[in-house]
């Protein structure tokens, strides 16, 4: 899980793993490790999820944490346009560290549509880069299962 701080990385994992959501923002310190078994057409897969602390001026993400990762989920907050730029920067750094592995951009907080700041131009730009983008809401669960399953299927097919 990669993204700026407070984009909802931990909330997405929590929704996916435990089906729970909390309105309270609680910043992640270091690496939060979770596991979840998913069923795919060819059998089961155990995902080990590394929820990394958010990137900001206080803490830079240590890219060596990505060593050994089979895929990554970039997360941006649709209500904060700057988080798209941070996701793009992290994607470039991730690719430089571990090469091309499957990834998806989760545009989170789609439930806050009245505060949405990300315009279609931003989305089209990311689409031109070949990014798979899913609109998600950790609060309602929209797109969450789908996002992790896209990653799991992409890993299984490699």
């Amino acid at each position: 899980m990669l993204g700026a701080f407070a984009v909802g990385k931990t909330s997405l994992v929590s929704r996916f793993v435990t089906s729970m959501f909390s309105e309270k923002y609680l910043t992640t310190v270091g690496v939060k490790i979770d596991k979840k078994r998913v069923s795919l057409l060819r059998g089961e897969m155990e995902l080990i999820l590394w929820d990394l602390y958010g990137e900001d001026e206080f803490q830079k993400v240590r890219m060596s944490y990505l060593q050994g990762a089979s895929a990554y989920l970039l997360v941006a907050d649709g209500t904060r346009k700057e988080t798209i730029d941070i996701a793009a920067s992290l994607q470039r750094a991730a690719e430089a560290e571990i090469g091309k592995v499957p990834f998806v951009l989760a545009l989170n907080k789609v439930d806050l549509a009245d505060r949405w700041q990300v315009d279609m131009g931003d989305l089209e730009r990311a689409g031109e880069w070949g990014w798979k983008i899913v609109r998600t809401s950790a609060k309602t669960g929209e797109g969450v299962e789908e996002t992790f399953l896209i990653l799991a299927r992409a890993m299984a097919s490699r």
Partner: protein, 135 residues
């Protein structure tokens, strides 16, 4: 040091000490503390991911006796989050992994939380239709 003294020290420090054995798996060299019960029972520690990759490189060419990562966090069976750090130790003919609780992680979190809440308030637009001080 007598084995029972070593075990008593490990127990008092609430640390988990594992030694890498020939097949790449790890075996505990002392009784594990209660907080480590939430951990995967897989002796290759796949959840450590990149830490193990870095640890193997460190053991192959140690520049120091210790390399530490973290904090990491997990949730125990009661739903409580706990933070820990992992260290690779390189001693003559032995490769150890040591797990220890990080009692300072919550202080770090409290500081970061306050700082990020201020930035977040600045970055997040108010909901439409709500009163706004800047009109």
């Amino acid at each position: 040091m007598k084995p029972e003294s070593f075990e008593a020290v490990v127990r008092a420090l609430e640390i988990g000490v594992f030694e890498q054995v020939a097949d790449g798996a790890f075996t505990s060299v002392a009784p594990l503390p209660d907080w480590m019960r939430a951990f995967s029972q897989n002796p290759t520690f796949p959840f450590l991911g990149s830490f193990l990759i870095e640890a193997r490189a460190f053991w192959a060419e140690p520049r120091d006796t210790r390399l530490t990562w973290g904090p990491c966090s997990e949730v125990d069976e009661a739903g409580r989050e706990f933070h820990y750090r992992v260290s690779a130790l390189s001693l003559p003919d032995h490769k150890y992994l040591v797990f220890e609780l990080d009692h300072h992680a919550e202080e770090t979190r409290a500081i970061l939380q306050k700082a990020r809440e201020v930035v977040l308030q600045r970055q997040t637009p108010p909901a439409r239709g709500l009163d706004s001080t800047d009109g």
